[in-house]
């Protein structure tokens, strides 16, 4: 019997018109950065998930992660492969949701996954730190470029950082999803 979903609401002020964009997310969803369309349809979520697992990008990067973890294992003291792999799946799934044109990943010796994403004229560098084992949500940073111009960066939890990435894509019409705007009840 699945447990009832907790529903989280996130509000982001819109710089353009002073309005508020509202996202609602269920913690039963996996990966945890889904929007209304997936949230409302469990079957659809399962199908989407299956498509992710058959996705060549996902498989390629998952294998790459395993290879790199083995090479850099000595730098990952205190983080076993299963834990690291689970954390990686969380960030990688969320990043693949943004449908990047290019996505690559590299493990770093400071216990993080360094992702590079390209979409349109944007380049995103998201660093997911795997070593915050006492916190509920991992720490991440996001550095963004439009062409060669650097945009303001963001540091926060992985969840918050993913929202900033999604919001940047939405604001620049690079992500087409169904979202709830200025709708306060669900």
């Amino acid at each position: 019997m699945p447990r009832p979903a907790n529903i989280f609401k996130f509000e982001f002020p819109l710089k353009s018109n002073g309005g508020i964009r509202v996202f609602k997310i269920s913690d039963n969803d996996y990966p945890p950065f889904r929007y209304k369309s997936q949230f409302l349809c469990n079957e659809g979520t399962v199908n989407n998930l299956q498509s992710f697992y058959s996705n060549k990008k996902y498989i390629l990067l998952k294998n790459l992660f395993r290879q790199q973890y083995i090479q850099l294992e000595s730098y990952f003291e205190g983080i076993n492969f299963e834990v690291a792999n689970e954390k990686m799946a969380k960030s990688l799934n969320s990043l693949l949701e943004t449908d990047p044109e290019i996505i690559s990943m590299e493990l770093t010796h400071d216990q993080s996954i360094f992702y590079t994403l390209k979409k349109g004229s944007f380049t995103f560098y998201l660093q997911h730190f795997l070593n915050d084992i006492d916190k509920d949500d991992d720490e991440a940073t996001l550095i963004m470029f439009k062409g060669d111009d650097k945009l303001p960066s963001y540091a926060g939890s992985l969840t918050e950082t993913m929202f900033v990435l999604n919001d940047t894509l939405l604001t620049n019409n690079l992500l087409k999803i169904e979202f709830l705007e200025n709708e306060l009840s669900f």
Partner: protein
């Protein structure tokens, strides 16, 4: 084998303070194979070649490409050489050349990446964080830091908004900033670094001779 004297500091040299925007910095890598250096998907330099684990992103060693050219990256100081020559050079100080094998070797397996200074000099770091109202700001600074083995040594550093440099902070303060600034440095270098030899020019002599 003689040490290349053209990269040694000379008594008539001074600190370089002129505009270097159209010049390149060069940094050695542990491999000279393109497939090792570049990520095959993003076509950008791999993180492992931006900075090795024993070095620090807060004060990244590079050299000014010009008189110091792509072959000079193969010079590797030995432990003894590092002790004797791995120190800051002070103007007017006379230095001797490192001795082959005991103080330096040629590592022909080394490669390099280069970065155009104007792409990174002064580039702002401004972070927002959900629970902090005042954004954190810093900027990238390219600074001439000549060393006894290499007059053309430059450092990529990070100047905070209070005028302090990241690498000068106490351990506790430094640790707080480490993740953000290291991410920033990694991303900026990945974005702009290239592994091909660019078209470059040498600095005019009046810019470094007294």
């Amino acid at each position: 084998m003689n040490y290349p004297s053209e990269i040694l500091p000379k008594i008539n040299y001074k600190f370089i303070t002129c505009d270097l925007f159209n010049h390149y910095l060069i940094r050695f890598t542990s491999s000279n194979k393109k497939e090792d250096l570049l990520d095959s998907i993003s076509n950008q330099i791999k993180q492992e070649h931006i900075c090795s684990p024993r070095e620090h992103m807060n004060d990244l060693s590079t050299s000014l490409l010009g008189v110091y050219d792509i072959l000079h990256v193969q010079i590797e100081l030995t432990t003894q050489g590092k002790q004797k020559f791995g120190q800051d050079w002070i103007p007017n100080e006379q230095v001797t050349a490192p001795q082959y094998l005991s103080e330096f070797i040629i590592n022909s397996g080394r490669g390099f990446w280069v970065i155009l200074i104007k792409k990174i000099q002064g580039i702002p770091v401004d972070y927002t964080k959900s629970n902090i109202t005042t954004p954190f700001t810093a900027k990238c600074v390219v600074k001439h830091t000549p060393m006894k083995w290499n007059y053309w040594h430059f450092s990529i550093r990070w100047e905070l908004d209070d005028g302090m440099y990241w690498h000068e902070l106490q351990d506790k303060e430094r640790a707080k900033l480490a993740k953000r600034l290291a991410s920033e440095a990694r991303a900026i270098i990945a974005k702009f670094a290239e592994i091909e030899e660019p078209n470059y020019s040498q600095l005019e002599k009046e810019e470094y001779c007294k």
